[in-house]
């Protein structure tokens, strides 16, 4: 009698398992800042491992910085909402695809190996623009 519920729970757990590959780590954070993962709100302590789909949200005094596994670096400014909607990276071949959405606020980027791997493999979306990153350092600002 116990067996079926147990299997059902296991299946539910498997189905609910998020993409668990680490894509980046938090380096620093200050002020009001959270990492939103589905319904969860995580404290961005240094070393926190990020997953594809995570959103970086800051309040008026909040900041966060992080480094991705392809060496891309981000600094998120105050009053921001930045989501990594897609991140795939093959460490061996050093190729991948990377899409970041900046809904509001500011984001500084130094691009890494994904941007170098293929033309426009790294993209940044703002509410009115889709950008293709061709190996550089830049700031995107989206006022409220």
């Amino acid at each position: 009698m116990l067996r079926w519920p147990l299997i059902a729970v296991l299946i539910a757990l498997l189905a609910a398992a998020p993409a668990t590959a680490e894509i980046a780590r938090i380096k620093q954070s200050s002020g009001a800042a959270v990492v939103q993962r589905g319904e969860q709100k995580l404290k961005p302590a240094p070393g926190l491992q990020l997953l594809a789909g995570d959103s970086l949200i800051t309040g008026k005094d909040g900041r966060m910085s992080l480094t991705f596994v392809d060496n891309t670096r981000f600094a998120v400014g105050p009053n921001s909402r930045v989501s990594v909607s897609e991140f795939q990276y093959d460490r061996t071949r050093q190729k991948g695809s990377f899409v970041t959405q900046v809904d509001r606020g500011s984001l500084a980027v130094v691009s890494g190996k994904i941007a170098k791997s293929n033309r426009d493999a790294m993209k940044v979306r703002t509410p009115n623009t889709l950008l293709g990153v061709r190996g550089t350092k830049f700031i995107v600002e989206v006022p409220d």
Binding site: E22, R25, I26, K27, Q28, A45, P46, G47, L48, R63, S65, L66, T67, V69, N71, R73, F74, A75, G77, P78, R91, T92, V102, S106, L107, A108, V110, S111, G112, A115, D120, K123, T126, P127, N128, T129, L130, L131, G132, V133, R134, G135, T136, K137, F138, I139, V140, E141, V142, P143, D144
Partner: protein, 194 residues
């Protein structure tokens, strides 16, 4: 959703003024950013002027030099907040062993300091061999070398959650050689500290 966001932008003045500041990277190279879509329409514009500011949303965006005013205070603060660049170390090994050559053994202390100085570090250790021996043996030897370095880091107090080790055997030679060639340059471990 996107169409709705774009529409909201058109109605609510001010929200369509996303902007881009393009800068040279730390090595002084100037990259570019392509505008693939503006307000939902595909474009082929490329922003390539370093130290420039561009208002986004226009299919043919005009970049302005940052000029004497330079960066805004909050932009400068944002750049200051960027994490340090990843740093790579190369360590070399004696033929057929997981033993570091003396010069590389001396470099370990520098590696340890680099990791210790970073907030929330992530360290990737990648082992390689030369082409002496079979591919299977070299796969084992390369991961053995990477684990040797990783275990030393663990012995120095770094947490395993900060470290990962892989072996690439003789697949990624630093110096291209024929099979069964002894090469000191190829017998290496690369350590990437992020």
């Amino acid at each position: 959703m996107r169409a709705l966001a774009a529409l909201t932008c058109l109605v609510v003045a001010g929200c369509a003024t996303s902007s881009l500041v393009l800068l040279p990277d730390e090595e002084g190279h100037q990259g570019a950013v392509a505008v693939l879509e503006a307000n939902g329409k595909p474009t082929e514009a490329v922003i390539a002027d370093g130290n420039s500011r561009t208002r986004l949303g226009d299919p043919t965006p005009a970049s302005k030099p940052l000029g004497e005013q330079g960066l805004k205070k909050q932009e400068a603060a944002l750049l200051t907040g960027l994490p340090p660049p990843a740093k790579s170390f190369l360590l070399y090994f004696d033929q057929g062993t997981v033993r570091l050559v003396p010069e590389s053994a001396r470099m370990l202390a520098t590696l340890r300091e680099e990791i210790a100085a970073r907030s929330g570090p992530e360290v990737e250790v990648i082992g390689h061999t030369d082409t002496v021996g079979s591919q299977e043996d070299n796969d084992r030897l390369s991961i053995g070398r990477a684990e040797e370095v990783m275990n030393w880091l663990v012995s120095q107090g770094f947490d395993k959650s900060q470290l990962s080790a892989v072996g690439r055997g003789e697949r990624e030679l630093k110096e291209a050689t024929a099979d069964n060639v002894n090469s000191a340059v190829n017998r290496r471990v690369e350590v990437i500290v992020r």
